[in-house]
Subunit: 265 residues, 2 copies
DNA sequence: AACTAAGTTTCACTATTTGGAACTTACCTA
DNA sequence: TAGGTAAGTTCCAAATAGTGAAACTTAGTT
């Protein structure tokens, strides 16, 4: 029943409503939300009022519709800078993309999903907001599998449990067993493939971004089509990607875990 | 005492803490937050736990530091698409930027501040996340004044009250009276200037983006330096900007207030 | 071993949240 | 225009969740 379940306090409930508004992806009326809400009318109403008052949700009184508030855009700017490796990785992504001329994705794990935090596409200019922030499945994407393969055992198990194993293509892995086996192979190989597992004709190679301590910071992938590349030809890019990944990790570590700055003297 | 005051419920308090974490702009320890917090130790602690559990804040147990969570990046992606005019305006910004070759800003009002939601810079590639999400003052920026000038009287008064009137440069307007007078001039002129009021050497022209009903959707500005332009030469771009603005408004209206779609038949 | 600071848990007390039901618009329909 | 229906808003007693001083546990000094 409680699919996305959480033993929520008030804050959790409010954030659930926020997610719900986000899920519509367009301004919604109260009744639309009520229909798909697990909360009673009065409760939902009050939660929405709270969110509006807080600027997390905007309410257009003329139309009577709710939408996500701009306060989120401001928070996200900070979140992206603080919580993601994207600002650190930016110059390296630029360089990599320029040199190999293929689509590059930078991703992080968000619970049991892949969150894309940056992207480069050789052909068109950077499209950050339009691409960053998107989510995808872990079990059938290159970055997802790469990050999962090097995750710590508890987190890994939890995430493996939480996948949906929807069969997107003929090659999609559709069982926990198959995924576990694949993760083993990925670990010994040192990187992950996506062999048309999510979309037909789309293949990629992916590497995890690891701290010196072996903690997964994120994932980096290069994507192409079967028309232009084979897995083998993509694999040739791995050494190049490896050096990008280690430089990102190095920078990220010194940024996120800076040496204690002893008084400036 | 309660500067950012709100008669907050639990949700408000939690969001205050979220803002506080955001304000640091780097991973922070519990004691850093406690120092600058209005909440007692145990309360702050529990609020943080809630936020972490909800994925709005991430906690790195190794270092014992809190940072904004990636869930925000995901929400922001939706917020930017849903709540901002940026996705609609994107192609028009691209075109305008290309044709006039100067820095272009797209902004919206967020409470009493200017929130930049997109930017184009002819010289260097687009830097969305790094620029979008930034905030600035209303009373000394072109977009701010333009949006304020066409705001409805109640909102306008409220915002005028809430400005800080910090004197950034010799030209900064530093009183409500001066600002009101300037807004009158802007209204009759039809667009706003920023005559080095925020930063020395930086000037701009700005237009509001208005619905047919006269409601302020946002603002558009073209920025340059005194070295390259005078206010008069920037003013020559206004007709071009006017057409951009009206096209954005048109698209935004049909997107945000779509005709009721009568069953497809 | 004794001290100190940082972080975490407890628990009696309270303020907030809850949601069924009643109420108010606003808009159809006959 | 009355009568009906659906959408949105408010009420209030009961139930729940939040509060924070203080006690406690670590971890790091001296």
């Amino acid at each position: 029943m409680s699919e996305r379940g959480n033993e929520a306090g008030t804050v959790g409930k409010a954030l659930n409503v926020l997610d719900q508004v986000a899920a519509f992806g367009r301004p919604v009326r109260f009744s639309d939300l009520l229909e798909s809400s697990e909360y009673p009318k009065a409760t939902l109403y009050r939660l929405l009022q709270t969110l509006v008052q807080q600027g997390m949700v905007s309410f257009e009184s003329e139309r009577g519709v709710y939408a996500l508030g701009v306060r989120l855009v401001r928070l996200a700017h900070q979140a992206w800078q603080t919580a993601s490796i994207a600002p650190v990785a930016r110059p390296y992504l630029d360089a990599l993309s320029l040199e190999i001329g293929e689509t590059v994705h930078l991703a992080q794990l968000d619970h049991a999903q892949v969150l894309y935090v940056d992207k480069r596409n050789a052909a068109v200019p950077v499209e950050m907001y339009s691409q960053a922030g998107k989510v995808g499945p872990v079990y059938c994407t290159g970055v997802g599998k790469a990050m999962l393969a090097w995750s710590r055992i508890e987190a890994q198990s939890r995430i493996i449990e939480q996948q949906s194993y929807h069969k997107f293509t003929d090659n999609t892995l559709t069982s926990r067993r198959a995924l576990r086996a694949e993760l083993d192979i990925i670990c010994s190989r040192g990187f992950a493939y996506d062999n048309e597992e999510h979309e037909p004709g789309i293949i990629c190679v992916a590497l995890p971004i690891l701290t010196q301590g072996g903690h997964v910071l994120g994932g980096l992938s290069v994507t192409s089509t079967t028309a232009r590349h084979s897995l083998e030809s993509l694999a040739k890019l791995v050494p190049h990607m490896k050096s990008t990944v280690s430089r990102i990790a190095e920078d990220a570590e010194s940024w996120r875990f800076p040496e204690q700055i002893k008084e400036h003297a």
